[in-house]
Amino acid sequence: MANLTINGKALNLDVEPDTPLLWAIRENAGLTGTKYGCGIAQCGACTVHIDGVATRSCGVTVSEADGKQITTIEGLAANGVLHKVQQAWIENDVPQCGYCQSGMIMAVAALLKDNPKPTDQDIDDAITNICRCGTFQQVREAIHAATSV
């Protein structure tokens, strides 16, 4: 059993402590917005926030996340209001297939918390998620749009 706090809710989940957090989120907590892409922390599709830090959840065990605040894509909007990154994604029509975008949005949201007005270089350094559709140009435009107001 594990005690995880996901999107502000304390959950008691029947899961072994060495299970990757990704699978506890998807299969035990039932939150499928966080995606499996590689399982080796390469692609970033499974990015969530752990105590506010963008983290690839396939590379973290349940026990390592114990007692920490986990936020998934489902918990990014606050009180029904979309996060400005989600809003910018809609306004700039960013997603194509969309599968990587949960992780992309979580990575960008964490970047903007630390760096409210990132330069192109800051974006290049911080955002290392894979998108096979190739939405990078729209991702960059949307980040700038989200931070220009």
Binding site: E27, W89, I90, P95, C97, F136, Q137, Q138
Partner: protein
């Protein structure tokens, strides 16, 4: 080389598939629009016809048969229907009909297959007619209600107006009556210049659920009592499963069953996928890898190299006498190129969920070909068409991979061994990397003759390597020849060769290693464009001419090719010097009915680090249904194409693909992304595709710029294997 045999399984699957659908295919696309009795959608709303359902609140539900995998076809097709329907775009929503519904209704929705950049271009006519027919029936219903001549009524934004009286009603109010009317026989489509919804830069219809985690992909399916399966297929294609030691994992947590799948794979079924995968990793498995285990990348390369020089070859395009002209040439230029296997690496690994009972088999999956998936369900379950169905999900990437149904068949094979229990089969990324349907491997020898005035008088192009159709669609071979191999090299058609060369010979020595090839976004134009456009650059250099001027002379009889080339040259500023340290390269090609060109600006450090500063890309797809989405396809295609160029090779050792995950099979990141400036220049009169064509000019434009920067030719892909990478 007996060891290079094509797997038989795929051929059998296809034959059964076509036989199953034979009745439907025979009926063709004779689409009944509407009819005397009302067909109702699941919520009870009337179908005006198969394409259009209108709810009482004026919501318009447009049926989309093709699959959405990110390319925007769902939005584009809806725009075309809505344009003719004259409905309120803000009230449009879409839904997928299922393949079983389509088969039961004599294939009323036509083709489901979504590949070859065909989603819009091969269905635009009948979906627009679907929208126009529905509009005419709705207006007629209003005229009937008002007892006025239909010619006095008009429709716009889902509102019907009787012009003389000013009376109005809405589509939602007359849909029931419209659904009972006979479909009009004479349907006239709008001139595209009058489009108000189609042709506009509208936003996608499927974005909101993609930013909050709500979109359900195949991997996200939840069903009561669902169990999860992880699978390992024999790492060497053509090999078999010999044995496994189930006792070793029987007590592991959550494990429900260990199963043989087909004759080459083993699956573990457990309560969660993580349990299934963990147990599968601990399961001792013995494979009979067979003869193919001796194959390596080197043995394949040697076999293909032999095909460049000797043995039989199919002729794809021929004029004049290229060989004789070459023999008497003032100057002869030769070069050998090669292009590797590549995995699609969709972000969502292959998966399918199947539920089998004695009298029903249902599958939930992302597929680019609903009808082929349906055929796989029929074949796997042994049940008739009225007892099977496929519930299509939004795809987490397709790129051609999900046109195949191997993963669907596996899910059914597992579910059939556990009747009554829904089984979600998910491949690990490692399984996905090792059991792809890879971009075919080829080599190409280019030989050209220049006369004393440096005019190009002959080109001989001999391709040696793999045929996709041989493995996946052998019935499409023509007297053994794979016509698709010659994409962009044909004398005419939607993938024609643009250059006019008096003596031309294009041929293919077909050699099929055991690695199963597939349709990889762009397919055969990828390597053919690279061969032709890099070699054109070599010829320009040999002739002492500017690469743009050299191409222009040869394109005078192909003004559309010339127009896109000129467009990128102008926008990149070809006639002006590039910024200090920056070098340029060009490429043009035709594929999927569209004309495309690119200009790249790059800088090179130490000969090994390439920074792609800027890409200018042009496409003439005939008609542009949504320019904003086309621009996104173009930008994305450069990510796919440049990833292929820099990182894309899959290599073979001991008969198996060596790359296992994104650590060994890299993919471009945002820091490597050049700015892509798109020029969408539809010239009208034809319908070309947009998802794929621009990929093929990415590689040659950059390689030609690399030569401009370094004086060195790169004739082998990927650059990773030559220790060249992004700066």
């Amino acid at each position: 080389m007996n060891k290079h045999v094509a797997p038989q399984l795929n051929r059998r699957a296809f034959v059964v598939g076509t036989a199953t659908l034979g009745t439907g295919l025979a009926l063709g696309l004779d689409i009944p629009f509407g009819g005397p009795s009302i067909v109702r959608a699941a919520d009870g709303s009337p179908e005006v016809n198969a394409w259009v359902v209108i709810r009482p609140d004026d919501t318009v539900v447009i049926r989309i048969a093709r699959s959405e995998m990110g390319q925007g076809t769902l939005t584009g097709l809806a725009q075309l229907v809505a344009e003719e329907l004259e409905c309120d775009w803000s009230k449009v929503t879409t839904e997928y009909p299922s393949p079983a519904q389509s088969v039961a209704r004599k294939r009323v929705w036509g083709e489901f297959s979504t590949g070859g950049s065909r989603g819009i271009r091969t269905s635009q006519d009948y979906v627009r007619k679907g929208g126009a027919t529905a509009r005419m029936m709705l207006v007629q219903a209003a005229a009937n209600e008002w007892k006025v001549p239909v010619t006095e009524c008009t429709a716009a934004d889902s509102v019907i107006t009787h012009t003389p009286s000013g009376k109005t009603t809405t589509y939602g109010k007359v849909a029931e009556a419209a659904a009972k009317l006979p479909a009009p026989a004479d349907v006239k489509l709008k001139d595209p210049k009058d489009w108000k919804i189609a042709g506009k830069r509208l936003k996608r219809l499927d974005t909101s659920d993609k930013v909050n985690g709500a979109m359900v992909y195949g991997i996200d399916i939840k069903l009561p009592g669902l169990l999860n399966a992880a699978i390992k297929d024999c790492p060497v294609t053509g090999g078999k499963l010999k044995s496994y030691d189930e006792a070793k994992i029987a007590s592991m947590k959550g494990v429900k069953k260990v199963l043989k799948v087909g004759d080459s794979a083993v699956a573990v079924v457990a309560d969660t996928w993580w349990h299934a995968k963990s147990a599968l990793d601990a399961l001792p498995i013995v494979w009979d890898e067979g003869e193919n285990a001796k194959v390596t990348s080197a043995s394949i390369a040697q076999w293909l190299a032999e095909g460049l020089e000797s043995g039989p070859a199919y002729v794809g395009n021929q004029s004049g006498d290229a060989k004789a002209t070459l023999a008497g040439a003032a100057k002869k230029v030769e070069a050998v190129y090669n292009y590797p296997y590549q995995n699609h690496a969709t972000m969502e690994p292959m998966n399918a969920t199947a539920l089998y009972t004695a009298d029903k088999c249902e599958v939930w999956c992302g597929t680019q070909n609903g009808e082929a998936a349906f055929a796989a369900v029929l074949e796997g379950s042994g049940l008739p068409a009225d007892k099977c169905d496929v519930h299509k999900q939004i795809l987490g990437g397709g790129f051609g991979r999900r046109g195949q149904t191997d993963y669907v068949r596996q899910a059914v094979d597992i579910a059939k061994q556990m009747p009554g229990t829904p089984i979600k089969l998910l491949w690990s990324r490692e399984e996905d990397m090792q059991h792809g349907r890879y971009h075919p491997i080829t080599q190409c020898k280019m030989s050209a003759a220049l006369d004393a005035d440096n005019n190009l008088t002959a080109l001989h192009m001999r391709i040696s390597g793999q045929s996709i159709l041989f493995s996946l669609r052998p019935e499409a071979l023509v007297n053994g020849k794979d016509p698709a191999t010659f994409a962009g090299l044909n004398a005419d058609g939607d993938a024609a060769f643009g250059y006019t060369i008096p003596n031309l010979l294009v041929e293919h020595s077909m050699r099929n290693p055991h690695i199963i090839p597939g349709f990889w976004r762009g397919v055969n134009v990828n390597q053919n464009a690279l061969y032709v456009e890099c070699f054109m650059d070599e010829l320009a250099h040999a002739a002492g001419e500017d690469p743009l001027a050299f191409r222009r002379k040869l394109l005078t009889k192909h003004p559309k090719n010339l127009a896109v080339l000129n467009a990128v040259a102008e926008k990149v500023g070809w006639d002006k010097p590039a910024p200090q340290g920056v070098h340029r390269g060009l490429a043009q090609y035709m594929g999927y009915g569209s004309y495309v060109a690119a200009a790249a600006e790059i800088s090179v450090t130490d000969g090994t680090k390439i920074k792609v500063h800027r890409i200018v890309a042009a496409t003439d797809p005939g008609y542009a249904v949504n320019p904003a989405q086309i621009e996104r396809q173009i930008a994305g295609s450069f990510v796919y194409g440049l990833t292929g160029l820099f990182y894309g090779g899959c290599t073979v050792k001991d008969g198996r693909i060596e790359q296992t995950n994104f650590d060994t099979y890299n993919s471009m990141r945002i820091n490597e992304m050049p700015k892509v400036e798109s020029i969408v220049m539809p010239s009208g009169g034809f319908w070309g595709g947009v998802g794929e064509p621009t990929i093929c000019v990415a590689g040659p434009a950059v390689l030609n710029a690399y030569f401009a920067a370094t004086g060195k030719r790169i004739r082998s892909v990927p650059l990773r294997d030559q220790n060249i990478t992004f700066a």
